[in-house]
Amino acid sequence: MTEKRGTRGSRGAGGRRGAAPTAEPKALAAKALAERRVGLLREMLRIRRFEERCVELYSAAKIRGFMHLYIGEEAVAVGVMRALTQDDNVVTTYREHGHALARGMPAESIMAEMYGRVTGCSKGRGGSMHLFDAGLRFYGGNAIVGGGLPLAVGLALADRMRGEERVTACFFGDGAVAEGEFHECVNLAALWGLPILFACENNRYAMGTALERAHAETDLALRASSYGLVSWAVDGMDVLAVEKAAARAAEAVRWGGGPHFLELRTYRYRAHSMYDPDRYRDKAEIERWKEHDPIDALSGRLRGEGHLTDDDLAAIEKEIAEEIDRAVEAADAGDLEPVADLTRFVYSPRPSAKPAARRS
């Protein structure tokens, strides 16, 4: 079940700052904190509702191809993204609707992409598995397992060489840890001390292959630490734990602490993709994990603390539903790329033809 191991390693820098706050700022801070947490809840709910709508739209054949849902894992994307600045880089996988939303990509742009419209974030060329957004430094959904890791190493290398204080967050699954590219990239990042936050979403399955049937050592945080980088296992069903660990790790990475590895222990409630009949696991196992649902847990806590009412929640749900409705409408109305433009973006216009033909 959800492993309740806390974050390991050094304490964050927060506790060391300044004198004890007075009572009033304390109350203010508590309010700000509660609002912040409601914000986290809102983001998780937004992802879940978006994904639920995707299921309907897939059944209605509006969305096609492979589609991988994030339901159950929302705390990971929301917690980690919260720890990043807009100037940081994100590299991710085919299971990236949640990352895209949490990063701030408009639902419209994602939905239109899955509808294959030119108004989609990747102009309809990518679909569900290949969301990109240059403005958000969102370097894509990569559908080769492990394939995004070397890109992250390169992005981080560029930043290091230019002296930029930027973190590259790279998401990948437990399955990806078995790929050679994982090994090469973690070694390279550790060897060169690159500013990367490795965010391993351990949802215990790679398609139908359970963790213990893929890895001789199933403690992935422990395995990663063997490369000589800082590595923590985090309860990926607890958005606050994720946020805290990610914030510490990102801060350390940003200030030159070298790559950090977070194993975010989570679970996907739905099948691997819409193609997957989900034969390989016990339904009871899924139910047990649902008892630790990240959204229920946080909303329960916020209610208990008096920071969230039924009305608040209804308002949030309404806002989200409206956003998604708008996204679906816009996607439906979106234009298609003209077929004549099929081979655009295979090669770019050359910068100039000027040096040409001087010698050959």
Binding site: R64, G65, F66, E113, G116, R117, S122, G124, R125, G126, G127, M129, H130, N142, A143, I144, V145, G146, G147, G175, A176, A178, E179, G180, A206, M207, G208, T209, A210, R213, A214, H215, Y275, D276, P277, R279, Y280, L336, E337, V339, L342, T343, V346
Partner: protein, 332 residues
């Protein structure tokens, strides 16, 4: 052991599954290895039920480690086993290409003939399911560049059922490419047992033009031939079946009869198998040709997701018809 009997309706997927079952029953050196071939039932359900029948030693799920498990297949083959390695999709096979080219295709020669690699690698290929640029390539013709490999592409149920048997008996590595759009294709089998993999097959005899194709494109080409027949053009359709080595004789015999040829291939045009077929026809039947060899190929673009773009990126019957018209009408 259930075997398919004549006149029973069956899909390409089931035919392939029967072929694997049969191989596992026939020869205890055979085993199936790959990602999710067992518990999951195979990413395209080809191996569904085999784990239950043969157990986890012979239906062997692997971690996501394409290079290691393909290479392990090579090693097991060196040791005398008859592994069938499944790679989910042709794009992922790039991760194992070092093992395939530098080892599987090379060791027999490099060792002076001492070590054979009787390995079968199966993988899904092709576009048409809106899976976008990292799941839709057609690289089988590209693999056909590599000496030491045999490349086959079953396009019919009988070939799906029969090619594996012959492949497993081959002392050298054989790669089987299964087009993703074929798995649900229904039909009847003419019976179990091996099929020849040395020869191309004429799937439709005709006298006006030779259409050379294979795999997923066979069915579009047959559709195009049907349309052409209505306009009075009688096309012969040659299914290459094996892309390496090519059956030059079958191709040339057909071209010598029809004097015109169009090659249809879903892969990118430049440097695809269509170029090789065209070059060989030019070399071997130049003076029999009444028109230049035509090619209908995939657009040179990473496969886009959007349906209309994907359709435009791969050959459609109308494109084939148009190319044939050019070959027929463009006579000098």
């Amino acid at each position: 052991m259930k075997t398919a009997v004549k006149s029973e309706q069956i899909t390409y997927r089931e035919a392939m599954r029967e072929a694997i079952r049969e191989a596992l029953h026939r020869d205890d050196r055979v085993f199936l290895m790959g990602e999710d071939v067992g518990r999951y039932g195979g990413c395209f359900a080809v191996s569904l039920g085999l784990l239950e029948e043969f157990g986890p030693e012979r239906i062997r799920d692997t971690p996501l480690s394409e290079s290691a498990f393909v290479g392990a297949g090579i090693g097991a083959a060196l040791a005398g086993m008859r592994p069938i390695v499944e790679i989910m999709t042709v794009n992922f096979s790039l991760l194992a290409l070092d093992q395939i080219l530098n080892n599987a295709a090379t060791i027999l020669h490099m060792s002076g003939g001492q070590f054979n690699v009787p390995l079968v690698i199966r993988m899904t290929t092709g576009a048409g399911r809106q899976l976008a640029a990292q799941h839709s390539h057609s690289l089988e013709g590209w693999y056909a560049h590599i000496p030491g490999l045999r490349i086959v592409a079953p396009a019919t149920l009988d070939d799906a059922r029969g090619m594996l048997w012959t492949a497993i008996e081959d002392p050298d590595p054989v790669l089987i490419f299964e087009h993703g759009t074929l798995y649900n294709m229904p039909g009847e089998l003419s019976g179990p047992g091996p099929v020849d993999i040395d020869h191309a097959a004429i799937r439709r005899p005709g006298s006006d033009v030779t259409l050379v194709t294979y795999g997923g494109m066979l069915h579009k080409t047959l559709a195009a031939a049907g349309q052409l027949a209505e306009t009075g053009v009688d096309a012969e359709v040659v299914d290459l079946r094996t892309l390496r080595p090519l059956d030059d004789k079958a191709i040339m015999e057909s071209v010598r009869r029809t004097h015109r040829a169009v090659v249809v291939d879903e892969a990118w045009r430049s440097g695809g198998i269509s170029a090789e077929v065209s070059a060989r026809i030019t070399e071997q039947a130049f003076f029999d040709l009444d028109a230049p060899v035509g090619r209908v190929c995939g657009a040179e673009v990473p496969t886009p997701y959007a349906k209309h773009l994907e359709e435009a990126a791969i050959p459609q019957p109308a494109d084939i018809v148009a190319a044939v018209r050019r070959a027929v009408d463009g006579d000098a």
